[in-house]
Symmetry: C2
Subunit: 191 residues, 2 copies
DNA sequence: ACCTAAACGGAGTCGGACTCACCTTATGGA
DNA sequence: TCCATAAGGTGAGTCCGACTCCGTTTAGGT
């Protein structure tokens, strides 16, 4: 007698627990750099069998995407937060460097950004457009304040960042990424 | 009675022909965008069997790498050529845009650049360092002429470019890549 | 306590990279 | 010219990892 509309009933408790465990296990593996961890291993380390993994996620890819999407969600909240505290140009600077530092935490975030940018999988459309929107808000604020040039769009900037974050090797990584980001900012700001 | 040193004897004629055919077939497949073409198909379209493919190349990866390495070789020759004709800043500008346009020809070149940049496979060390050197020559010339800032290194710039060229999707691709490249140039040149 | 829809398990299937034992052929010396 | 032989080619078969399927187990409502 309950009107469920789209909410197709909450997961049973064990199901939710297992789903969470799988995401955590996958997150641990991917963000730790083992980008091609075997499904069998992920399932085992979550304490379930592969069948269960596939009940929750269409494919291995889908699981990965879900993990990455969560990461990105967190980041997308930042720009609004920053715009509340800083002038647009400064907010932009901070956000770009934040992304870079985030990517430095583990291979994971950079892989996430790269995937979001490089993949044409519709699964990422959503994450991509949210991130683009976040950047667009930053840029627009800067343009309105007259401190940022107006010929660069959010999607374009997203691609540039994806590129930078794709550089996830070698020791000098972080410094190089920061240098490039500053270069980009220099180009972005009005003189 | 021949002193062969390292030259382990030239390939038999049919072997050379097949090796070439395999590289051509792989090139056709990869540069055309089918980045995960099956070895079976590559072998067939080269007119040989898989066994032959594996006689010439350790793994599928090795074959891909070989294809990409050749592409990069060509590009590495450009900077010297450009420096002979243009002022350093202009040579730099042309080279960066050349890379972008090259990447636009097919997915292949961008994958090549991306792989060279992102992979830690030693197979690319050589290509990577040659490309870095090429960029360093351009930058040094610019610094000497006083038109380019001196705090950016060849390897750093290589990573930035790798990033840009990794953006190999969607329709607006080329314009976006050009925009970002100009942004980078703006940041790179002295005011 | 019982019922049933939901969730779980894990052996089995399938597809694709790679191997190996045997056959074919280029090539150089008699 | 012709043979010997090492180099090269072949493709059915192996291996391995993602994914499926159906019998078993269990949460949670009545």
């Amino acid at each position: 007698m309950e009107v469920s509309l789209t909410a197709s009933r909450p997961l049973r408790r064990d199901a939710r627990r297992n789903r969470e465990a799988l995401l955590a296990a996958a997150r641990a593996a991917f963000l730790d750099g083992d980008t091609d961890a075997h499904v069998e291993d992920i399932a085992r380390s979550a304490g379930v069998a592969v069948g269960t993994l596939y009940r929750h996620f269409e494919t291995r890819e889908a699981l990965i995407e879900e993990v990455y999407r969560k990461e990105v969600d967190d980041l997308c909240a930042e720009p609004d937060h920053l715009l509340g505290q800083y002038a647009p140009a400064e907010a932009l600077r901070r956000f770009l460097l934040l992304l870079v530092d985030h990517a430095a935490v583990g291979k994971g975030m950079s892989v996430a950004l790269e995937s979001i940018m490089a993949s044409d999988s519709p699964v990422f459309d959503d994450a991509r457009s949210r991130m683009s929107d976040a950047l667009t808000r930053l840029l627009d604020a800067g343009v309105a304040a007259g401190t940022v040039r107006d010929d660069v769009t959010g999607p374009t900037l997203l691609r540039a960042l994806g590129g930078i974050c794709a550089m996830r090797v070698s020791d000098g990584w972080l410094d190089e990424a920061r240098t490039i980001t500053r270069l980009l900012l220099d180009g972005l700001l009005h003189r």
